[in-house]
């Protein structure tokens, strides 16, 4: 019998991903340059979306460039009417921030509704927004508060940021560095979770801001969107009844085995009503 000489070490954890090179970037410039010179590189933040897809071999990259070593990308600061959250700030930190809870409690609440404690301690706001999953929570707050996405190249208004399914205004290689949230007069988020994944089937963020009332919906469409009819109605009367009769068309909404488009449309109204009640209460 032919016995090979090389013995596998059974104590070594079994790796399952395709091979890739791992780099820890030291600065934004370093990250961008490493990315542009590699074959097919991508950034790594919390890894909560990226790593599972690599493990399942649904994606493969020649290089992963970790943003975790770059100074100044994590943390929350409140400066009068603006809250700035660094892109590498994890959901747990956002949920637990006392300063944020004072300024925009709805945003801290929202972060606490994302996934589970393990994911919240790894996943980042920058990763969530770069990924722009149609069922992610943060997009509702970013759009609902009229936040600004700050990148290594420019600032992008929330209204210009979400383009389509997993599609944002970010250019190839562009790095989100922070998100600037204006502090609203009042705001609230209502999430209807998917019974299996607990992502949002529908999430509605309602805010009364300096610039007027904003109503943003996640989960229902290909990407987060605003409901102008509801915004107009709430501008006149910030009460649940004002939106109770307003429905969005089911035509362009998502359909899956957990929720039909009609059901999602109905949930948009219900969640909006409840978010208004919460914000007003």
């Amino acid at each position: 019998m032919d016995i090979p000489a090389r013995l596998p070490d059974p104590r070594k954890r079994e790796k399952k991903m395709y091979r890739f090179e791992y780099h820890k970037a030291t600065s934004l410039e370093d990250a961008a340059s490493k990315r542009s010179t590699a074959d097919d590189a991508t950034y790594l933040a919390g890894g909560m979306t990226l790593i599972p897809t690599l493990k399942q071999r649904l994606a493969s990259h020649s290089d992963l460039i970790d943003l975790a070593g770059i100074d100044g990308l994590a943390g929350i600061s409140v400066d009068g009417a603006v809250v700035t959250i660094g892109a590498m700030t994890c959901h747990a930190e956002v949920a637990a921030s006392a300063a944020l809870r004072d300024a925009i409690p709805a945003l801290a609440d929202l972060a606490g509704l994302i996934a589970d404690p393990a994911v919240r301690n790894r996943g980042t706001i920058g990763g969530s927004l770069a990924n722009s999953d149609p069922a992610a929570d943060y997009p509702a707050a970013v759009l609902g508060l009229g936040a600004t996405i700050v990148t290594d190249k420019r600032e992008i208004a929330a209204d210009d940021y979400f383009l389509d399914l997993f599609e944002t205004a970010l250019e190839e290689g562009e790095i989100i560095t922070a998100i600037k949230f204006p502090v609203p007069k009042r705001a609230a988020y209502e999430k209807f979770p998917n019974p299996a994944s607990r992502y949002a089937i529908v999430g509605v963020f309602v805010a009364e801001t300096e610039g007027g009332v904003r109503v943003a919906v996640t989960g229902a469409g290909p990407c987060a969107f605003r409901v102008s009819d509801m915004e107009a109605a709430l501008a006149g009367n910030f009460a649940p009844d004002a939106v109770a009769g307003i429905t969005v068309s089911a035509d362009d909404l998502n359909q899956d085995l957990h929720a039909s488009a009609a059901y999602r449309a109905s949930l948009v109204t219900t969640m909006a009503k409840r978010a208004v009640a919460k914000a007003a209460g």
Binding site: P8, R11, E14, P195, A259
Partner: protein, 787 residues
């Protein structure tokens, strides 16, 4: 109550939990063998097709790939088909159709996930890389995944030797009597329902390591099995891998099974066989995705039922017609589940004089379906308790009262049902009354009004379930088509200087056997819990066994342990009599102490044990030295746990969200050894039953045959925040025919809870047509009629 802290009935903490909680359990992932290589299965990505060819060239060139083996290689080595261990006969007397079930597909693929080839690599990555390069040449055929569609004219044929995809068409009960009663009845309630397909989702996925020692020709298979001896038996006698004395099966700590680890699957068969082919130990561990695709699923029935009642609400007859999805091949016990474990339970707790059931078992392009927690009995209880509830609503009688009127009275036992079983004992009304009281059934109307005032819809639902478990009397099982016996064995070795080892043929997958069994033995012998060690899970250490399923471990396995313990006591009594210079009849034994009646002489069990091994003063002319006994216990009958579950819910009419406000379960499990463990079993079972009712669903796409719910993104498992606090209580009518009086508690929670919850939801929304799982979407739709 227990007379000792660790005695029968005491809430002893689980001995095994320390190692589980600190991460020192020994599961398949903790076991690795020297020179081990890794198996990755190439699985069919299409649901149905002709397998024209397979190109392993590129895979074999991959770094670290040692071998690519196929169905032809398996066949060339003479391995047989994976058998179904139970044979069912159709109404017309014909034997069921048992198409070949090769360990690796030959000629055709029949479901997404079916193993077609195995790639063996030095590392897991090498094997995975290789597996991706194996090219399957498949001519796709149209698939059929739905149990009803597969029986329709013109449905794609899955096996050439199974015309019309029908495996069998079985019947039980008096058809004529039922027809007559239904035709003449004052009222007939009709119900059409589906019992949703479930994925078992044990926390530890299936895994195996095959080893072969060419020196003595011995195979060793490590597999997380619920029944290692059954694995050995099937692999030896049916698959013909090796004779039984050349095959050792080791099942370590097992992280959940729920039925799915009973069966003898392709993967472990291939690992054991391939170990010889490649001359190295071969390890395979299912990914969670593979578990969804290739673990045997549960349930998946489509049924119609009619219940006939007279003017007073007495049940006259029940007619049931069921189509049961078998999947693409017959798994190890598949054929028995929708027949003898289902049809026989359709009398429920009721004295319905006539019941007739017909079941058509159907092949489809889906993963095989087999026993899953409750196996057949949840399907029966669901159907029966749904139609009883519906009947009560139709005739305007309180559902609890309708049930009470029809219960088998407690003085009617033993009770012969019209569907073959003889219930030994029970007091169903006692459980019903207790549950109604604990759930404050009488106060429901006020609570409903309070909910309505808040715009919410409140509902309450009952289920009075019964099940047959403690599998099983071997002779009866044999008459009904089983290919194996269903007794259990135990062996007790008392050591000379301390401690007792108990060997059992049952297999814990987390239920706490090491505690319950130790409690039994320690209590009888007057020892501390720590002095009793339970051994299971190794065919070379345990003399024999048939494993754990059908809530049999205590009632059958525990009874064997009880018998072996009694043999120990009787031998020890004789030794003690000799030493105390009296006769065995004059020796009492309590709390570990042998005493000679009418004297002040006594001896502790441990002293007697010492004498058995140091027989200086010993009746050697009468007795052999040593204190070591074994016993085989074959039950006379099944056991019949029964009880009442009551669920109260509030439904949000805007979203369809169901909030379970209260869940009351009153169960009769006969005598209880450890209430904490029993409550844990009920909690887990109820959680699974609620999972089935509200969350879980394996969905195949009709057109492509792909499994749509192949991950936790889409397959919803119950989580702690989906569940209410459970209110539990027990009634007790000890089983009349086993020495422990125990009935079994492992499955009851999953049997009784599902109908109670659906009855509560239908009560809340005033609409009977709700499909399981009653997800928010399903409830919302039901409340609106069609969208």
């Amino acid at each position: 109550m227990a007379d000792r802290e660790s005695g029968i009935g005491a809430r002893v903490l689980r001995k095994e939990d320390k190692r589980f909680l600190v991460g020192r359990g020994r599961y398949m992932d903790d076991i690795n063998r020297p020179r081990q290589v890794y198996a990755v299965f190439v699985r069919s990505q299409v649901a149905h097709g002709t397998l024209k060819g397979l190109d392993s060239g590129a895979a074999l060139e991959t770094d670290g790939v040692i071998a690519v083996l196929t169905g032809e290689d398996v066949a060339a080595d003479g391995l047989g088909s994976l058998p179904c261990g139970w044979t069912i006969h159709s109404k017309d007397g014909a034997e069921m159709k048992t198409p070949a079930h090769p360990a690796l597909a030959i000629g055709k693929v029949r479901y997404v996930g079916e193993p077609v080839a195995v790639v063996i690599g030095e590392t897991l990555e090498a094997a995975r890389d290789g597996a991706e390069l194996v090219e399957l040449d498949i001519d796709e055929l149209p698939p059929v995944t739905d149990v009803v569609a597969a029986l329709e004219q013109g449905a794609p044929g899955i096996h050439d030797d199974v015309p019309g995809n029908e495996c069998y068409h079985w019947g039980l009960g008096d058809e004529e009597a039922v027809d007559k009663a239904i035709d003449a009845a004052h009222h007939v309630t009709r119900l059409e329902l589906r019992n949703n397909r479930l994925a078992p989702n044990a926390m530890e996925t299936r895994a195996a390591i095959g080893e072969y020692d060419p020196v003595d020709g011995m195979y060793t298979l490590h597999v997380n099995s619920q029944n290692p001896h059954l694995h050995r038996l099937v692999l030896a006698a049916f698959v013909e891998l090796a004779p039984e004395h050349k095959l050792r099966v080791i099942s370590p700590d097992v992280g959940g099974g729920f039925g799915s680890k009973i069966f003898i699957y392709s993967e472990e068969t291939v690992c054991a066989w391939a170990a010889r082919r490649v001359g190295r130990p071969v390890k395979w561990t299912a990914t969670r995705s593979e578990a969804f695709l290739a673990d045997a699923h549960g349930r998946d029935h489509a049924s119609t039922a009619e219940l006939a009642l007279d003017k007073e609400g007495n049940f006259l007859a029940l007619r049931v017609r069921t189509k049961a999805n078998m999947g693409a091949y017959l798994s190890t016990f598949a054929a028995a589940v929708p027949t003898w474990l289902y049809g026989t339970l359709l009398a429920g707790q009721y004295k319905t004089p006539a019941v007739h059931v017909e079941v058509r078992a159907v092949f489809t392009n889906t993963s095989p379906v087999d026993a899953y927690r409750g196996a057949g009995r949840p399907e029966a209880a669901f159907l029966l308790e749904r139609i009883v509830e519906k009947a009560a609503r139709e005739i305007g009688m309180d559902p609890a009262e309708l049930r009470r009127r029809n219960l088998i009275p407690k003085d009617a036992f033993p009770y012969q049902t019209p569907v073959a079983l003889v219930y030994d004992t029970g007091d169903y009304e006692a459980s019903l009354d207790k549950a109604l009281d604990m759930a404050d059934y009488a106060g429901f109307a006020a609570r409903r009004a309070e909910s309505e005032a808040r715009g919410m819809k409140r509902g309450i639902g009952l289920s009075c379930y019964i099940e047959a478990c403690g599998l099983a009397p071997s002779q009866l099982a044999g008459e009904l088509g089983a290919g194996i016996g269903l007794f259990e064995s135990a062996e007790i070795r008392v050591n000379a200087t301390g401690g007792v080892k108990v060997f059992t043929g049952t297999q814990s997958t987390g239920q706490g056997h090491e505690t319950t069994f130790a409690q039994l033995v320690a209590d009888r012998l007057g020892l501390d819990m720590d002095e009793v060690e339970i051994v299971h899970g190794d065919t070379d250490r345990v003399q024999y066994g048939l494993g754990t399923y059908g809530s049999r471990s205590l009632s059958v396995g525990g009874s064997a342990i009880h018998m072996a313990t009694e043999k120990i006591v009787e031998k020890a009594r004789k030794i003690a009599a000799h030493m105390m210079e009296t006769t065995a009849d004059d020796v009492d034994f309590t709390q570990g102490l042998f005493t000679a009646k009418g004297t002040n002489k006594s001896m502790h069990f441990k002293e007697v044990a010492f004498s058995a091994y140091v027989p200086h003063n010993y009746p050697l002319d009468e007795l052999e030295p040593g204190l070591h006994e074994s016993a085989y216990y074959d039950p006379e009958n099944f056991t019949y746990p029964a009880g009442t579950h009551i669920c109260e819910v509030e439904v949000d009419p805007e979203t369809g969200v169901v909030d379970i406000l209260a869940f009351t379960a009153v169960d009769d499990f006969g005598r209880i050894i450890n209430p904490t463990i029993v409550e844990g079993q009920v909690h887990g079972g109820v959680a699974q039953g609620i999972g089935q009712a509200m969350l879980e669903h394996c969905i195949y796409d009709d057109e492509s045959g792909q499994l749509v719910t192949g991950s936790y993104m889409d397959y919803a498992m119950p989580r702690a925040d989906d569940l209410p606090d459970f209110t539990l209580a027990f009634t007790e009518t000890p089983c009349t025919h086993n020495p422990l009086g125990a009935k079994g508690c492992g499955e009851a929670g999953a049997i009784g809870s599902t109908p109670a919850l659906i009855n509560a939801i239908t009560s809340a929304i005033g609409h009977e047509n709700i499909a399981m799982p009653a997800t928010p979407l399903a409830v919302w739709r039901a409340m609106r009629g069609a969208e």
